[in-house]
Every structure is written in structure tokens, then in C-alpha cells.
Symmetry: none
Subunit: 216 residues, 4 copies
């Protein structure tokens, strides 16, 4: 039946439309500023309809985050592929993540707002599981790069890839967080914060710390 196929297409399209609207709002208002009402208005659907596509606000947010990260992964994967050594891959990954963040500056603001939302999320939902799997992919890309670097001699052998990957990722989050919350941040720190300067500086520091002794 062509009907079923069309229905499926329409359903997907509408779902995407809702996500588009939610993304835009989440980006401009932050996690706590996201209102189901506003989403409904933006997609020109009734509030009730939203709940046909997403079980609740959290599920909608998880889906937004998943879509974000879904576009992000190929982006960093190709950057990593092009770099020769393991150390270069780390640098390439971080730079790619930085560029991506600059182009989608609100992704991290949103993710962080969600992170500190406080309430523990129902992590059994499918949407959330998907999101979680994607985060795992990013980490494993980092781990692979570190391992390759240890094999090809560009990265120190005395580090543990998994723990170091978490350290690299989390410290990077801090730096980027400041960048995306530039406004609030500049209200709070009495020093100029310029991502364009800060991120390369950070990447430099990370690479320097990873590089094997003679490799600089």
C-alpha cells in the first residue's frame, strides 16, 4: 500500500518538524526556557499533537539531543579519518568539535542545561537510550585515537586510554561551556573570553600533555 508508505513519510516529516521547532527554541531559550506551548505554536500544531510524537518533554529533549549528536558524529569522524597519527587525530577531533560548536553554539548550552537540570531522567525511554549510545560512540572514537597514538608512537604509553578520553572530553566541555555561555560568563568573569583564542590554547595544552617525550 502506497498509503502506508505515505503515512510513514508524513509521520517522519512531522516528527522532524517538531524537532526543528524544539531545537530552535531550546537553542534560544535553553532547556528550562523550553515550553511545550511554544513548541506547539512554532510548528502550528496543537499541544496535544506533540504528545502523539513524544511521550513528554524529556523524551522530546532526548530526541533533540540525539539529532544534534547524529549530525555531529559524521562530522568528527571524517576529521579524525583524515589525520595521520593518533595525536593528530585527537587534535583534529577537538578542532572539529570546536568548529561544530561554533556553528551550533547552542547544542552545548542545551546539553549542559539538561545535565544540570537536577532531576534524574527516566533513562529507560528509547529516545534516551539512543542518545546514550551516541555519546558512547564519541567516546570510543577518542579511545581509538588514543590507542592508535600509543601504537604509532605519537602518544605517551603511560596513559590509560579510557580514563584519558573521559578527561579530554570533560575538560573540553568546560572550555566550550564557557564559550557558549559567553554572555553569562562575561558577566561573571572579569577577563575577556574569546573562544577563538581559548579553544586552540586548550587543544594545544591537551596535545602537549599527551605527546610522547621526544615527539614535540
Amino acid at each position: 500500500m502506497a498509503v502506508a508508505a505515505r503515512r510513514e513519510r508524513e509521520r517522519t516529516a512531522r516528527r522532524e518538524a517538531i524537532l526543528d521547532a524544539a531545537e530552535e527554541l531550546v537553542v534560544s531559550e535553553g532547556y528550562h526556557g523550553l515550553r511545550m506551548d511554544a513548541v506547539a505554536d512554532a510548528v502550528e500544531l496543537s499541544k496535544g499533537t506533540l504528545y502523539l510524537y513524544f511521550a513528554n518533554k524529556d523524551a522530546l529533549c532526548a530526541a533533540v539531543a540525539t539529532r544534534f549528536i547524529d549530525t555531529f558524529i559524521p562530522f568528527i569522524e571524517s576529521a579524525v579519518d583524515e589525520a595521520p597519527s593518533g595525536l593528530d587525530k585527537i587534535g583534529a577531533l577537538l578542532h572539529a568539535q570546536y568548529r561544530f560548536t561554533q556553528e551550533n553554539p547552542q547544542h552545548f548550552r542545551f546539553a549542559l542545561g539538561w545535565l544540570s537540570a537536577g532531576q534524574t531522567i527516566d533513562d529507560s525511554s528509547e529516545a534516551f537510550q539512543t542518545y546514550r549510545a551516541r555519546v558512547g560512540q564519541v567516546l570510543s572514537i577518542l579511545v581509538s585515537a588514543l590507542q592508535q597514538g600509543q601504537r604509532d608512537g605519537s602518544i605517551r604509553k603511560d596513559i590509560d586510554p579510557l580514563n584519558q578520553a573521559v578527561q579530554i572530553w570533560t575538560s573540553f566541555i568546560g572550555v566550550v561551556l564557557v564559550g557558549v555561555n559567553r554572555e553569562s560568563m562575561e558577566q561573571r568573569i572579569p577577563a575577556p573570553v574569546d573562544l577563538g583564542r581559548l579553544v586552540p590554547l586548550h587543544v594545544d595544552s591537551v596535545l602537549r600533555a599527551l605527546a610522547s617525550e621526544g615527539a614535540s
Copy 2:
């Protein structure tokens, strides 16, 4: 006027009492869980009275954050004082901040919640200006340590102290952020997050990146 003096004393005492209550609540409930009602109940004052001491919820939060940071600064200052070289001072400062965070894990959770609250805060308020100045103090301790390290040869000469201080601080925030939001974080990243392991690893990386060539 003795009367005026007593009034002033009483006013300050009441202000502190409000802050005590707010701090306790902010620590147990998080930024988003803080209710003016609850604060009023806890200090046994009416809600209206709160607004005689603080212009609004944000001003109250700024004051809480200021008091937090006020206990934090002497803590790291003494740690820094005891370390000999500039590089050691950086290490000491980060370790001190880590210990402080472990003992007051909610400070950062609160600060971050506030940071990503989204809405721009009225930064002209006195409370906020005070808070801002304190953050500046922390940064300048970092800057001084970096500069001393450059003089005493423990830290690379080719870094810019201010920018590097911001980098060190922000990346550290990322790591600690993950630690204090361990629960939400472990829901989101499929990897074990252990501050006790992660922070030393991070400090190591920071120091390694700062150390002057032969200094390791």
C-alpha cells in the same frame, strides 16, 4: 548614633541569616529547586521581608555565590602560598579546588545551574558586582602563579598568563562539573566517571602542558 549602629548590626545579622538559609537550601535542592517561600520559612521571616534585603531571587543567589567563593579564596590562597615554584602553585591550587569541591560538591552544581539558567542577569546590582570581583580574584591568583612560574623557570615562557589562566580554570570546571553531576552524567555517558581518578589525571595533564621543556 548608637541606635544607627545597632540597626546596622541587626540588618547585617538578618541578611546573614537569610543567606544561611538560602545556602542550605541551594545546596540541598539545587538552583532550580530554590524557592523564595522555602527561604522565608527557614529564616522565619515573611516572603516580603526577603525583598527588603535582596532585590530578587538572582540577587540572593549572587550573594550566596559570593559567600561561597569567599570561603573558597582563603582556602586556595593558603594552598598556593605553601607551594614553592609557580608550577607547584598551579598544582596546589587545582588540588585545593578539587578538595574544596569534594567537601562542598553543591557549590559547582549550583554555580553551573545558575550559569546555564539562560536568562541574562541584571549585572548592575551590587551583589552581582561583588560576586564578579571574587571570581576575578581567583583568576588573578592563577595569573600570579603562572607569572611566577615563568620567572622561576618552572613554567614555559611562551604562554600568555591571562589566557592560559582562563583555559586552566574553564577546563577544570568541565572536569569538576562532570564530577558533581555524576548521577546525571553516568546516565548520559556510558563510561565510569570517578572524580578521584579523573581530577588527578586532569591536573597531571595541565601541569605537563605547562611545564617548561626540561622541567619534568
Copy 3:
């Protein structure tokens, strides 16, 4: 037309399937907890289809109530048949209704919830008319028993069978109502409510009041 006959059979079967699902749900969730969604899910039909078989939720409820009462009538009829005198028949009927209620405790809860739903029901619908006719049957069984009792001398002659039948039925409803809402009831009345004790007591009282002078 064999086709038309099959269609009719299918239609009836589907109608029954819907009623089965609705009955089960009404019994477990109560009148106010009955959701058209849930009924549709349970019969594996779409919500829209429900409306092809029942004009609205009320019509569906009327049909459920009708089916309930349809199983109830033969039950009490046979009980009444077996009793010799008119007075015995009344007692047998009430005891039968009590046993039936114990086995289907939700019937009355449902009927009462529906009764006190407040909104006036569209009583022109066919489903509702059918339901009404069944209630009439129960009453007429009572009336017949009363009349027979007057003839056979077991029941006082100075009562009016119809009015008395209504009195018997409605007072019985009150007693049973309390029993099936035992939980809510025990929250509200500070006295133990035990249908097993209360109903026989009530039946006794009813019979004593009906018995002709020397008949006890």
C-alpha cells in the same frame, strides 16, 4: 444474501469484543477511569472505529451496563423461582443480588459512578433505552414477588407493590454502595463496614417490615 448475513455476524462479534474490553476496563478502573483510548487498545481497534459502533462514551457505558444486568436478571430470576412464598422470594432476590454483587463488586461501583456522573445523558439513544428496559425488568420481578406475597398471605396487604419495590431496591442500593466503596467509605465513616454482616442485617430488616402480622 449470505454476504449481508456474514457482515451482520461480524458486526455483532466486533461489538461484543468492544463491550468485553470496556467491561473489563470499567471493572478495573471504574467509570471515571474508563478511557476510550484504553478500550481501543484493548480490542486492537482504532479509536475512530469505536465510534462506528457506539455513538459516544455514554452509549458504550449504557451497553456495558445492559450486558451486566443481562447476566444479572437470570441469576435473580432463578433464585426467586426456587423460593416458595412471596416473602421468601424477596429474601431470595436480595440475597442473590448480594451474592452477585460480591462476585462482581464493580458493577455497582460502575453503575453508581455513572449515576452520579452529573451530566444528563441523552436518553433517546437505543443503547440507553435497552438499559432502561432491563432495570424495569428487575423492578417488575420485585413487584410480582410482592404481589404474590400479598396473595399467599406472607406479605402485608397494606403496602403498594410498586412504591415498595422502589423502596426496597433503592435502600438495598445504599447498603451495597457502601460495601463496594468500602475503602472510601471506611475513610469517611468511623465505623467498621462489613458487607457480610451488613447485608443480612438489612435483608432481615426489610423482610421483617414486609411480613404480615402473624407471619414472623
Copy 4:
């Protein structure tokens, strides 16, 4: 301070005003039809204000019910006082309750709707406790009358006062229930229901069942 006294008076007055509005609405719309919005509109207060006086909808309903019963108790008490024998007291009580019901026909409709509301109510609330105590008072008036009747010889000695009181009360509820839901009831029973006839008939039956042998 006269101020405190006036405040207290105003508070009570406002509480009563809210109850007035809620009562009227509960009476016209039934328990399920009662909307907090509508109550707020009717008293010309904001919805939020309602929650300063009543913790939630249930507490408001309990308060309405308590006020109802508070006017009811003196009414039946004085009726009971005036009757000489125990049996007469029962009759007087039931007739009084009947008259009261006729004047406030919606009380029982409401109470019944609330009863079959299904959800279990938080019975720890003060409002609810008060309500419960009032119901207990009514029951104990019945019990006392029964006991007196047993002493003065007007009532059979072989009944248990508490159980019989519950039986009398619950069966009466059934009869009255039909009366107050006359509209829905007449839709459902194909027989004329006339409280003016039904209640005396019921009271007669109750009294006849209670009367000691020779007492008729």
C-alpha cells in the same frame, strides 16, 4: 493588636466566601464538575489565592462537606431531642434528614460523587479528619437513640446498635440518593420516583423492623 484580630476575621470571611462559591458550584455541577477555575471566578479571586486557603481540591471538598454536615447535625439533634421514645427518635432523625435533604438536595449528590470518586483521598489532612469526626457524630446519635429505645422498650432488644445504625444510615442513603439524582434516576428506572412518597415509606419500613414485638 486589633490588626491581628481583623486579619483573622478577614481570613475567616474569605475562607467562607470561597466555601460559599465552591458549595454552589459543587451543587450545580457535581463533584467531577467542580473546577478550581470556576471557584476562583465565582469568588473573584485568583486561582493561586485558593491554594492559600485550601491545600488542594480535595481539601476544599472536604471543607465543603464539613460545613454541610455542620449545619446538619444541630438540625437532627434538635429533632431527636424532641422525640420521646427511642423508636420515635429514629423516626424523627430520619424525617429530619429527609427534610434537610429536600432543602439541600445537592449535599448527597455531592457526597456520593465524592464517595465514588474512586481515588483514595489523603485522609491525613486536617480538613478530612474534621469531616470524618462529623460523620461519626451522626452515627453516634443513631446509636444512642437505638440504645435508648432498647432501654425504654420501644426497640427490639436483639439488635446490635452499632451495626444496625450503619444499616439504617446506609439504606437511607440509597433512598435519598435516588431522590437527589431524580433526573438521572428517572432516566434509568421505568417507574415514578417521588421522594415525598418514597422516604416516608422507607422510614415506615425501618421503624416497623425495629419496633419491639408488641409495640406496633
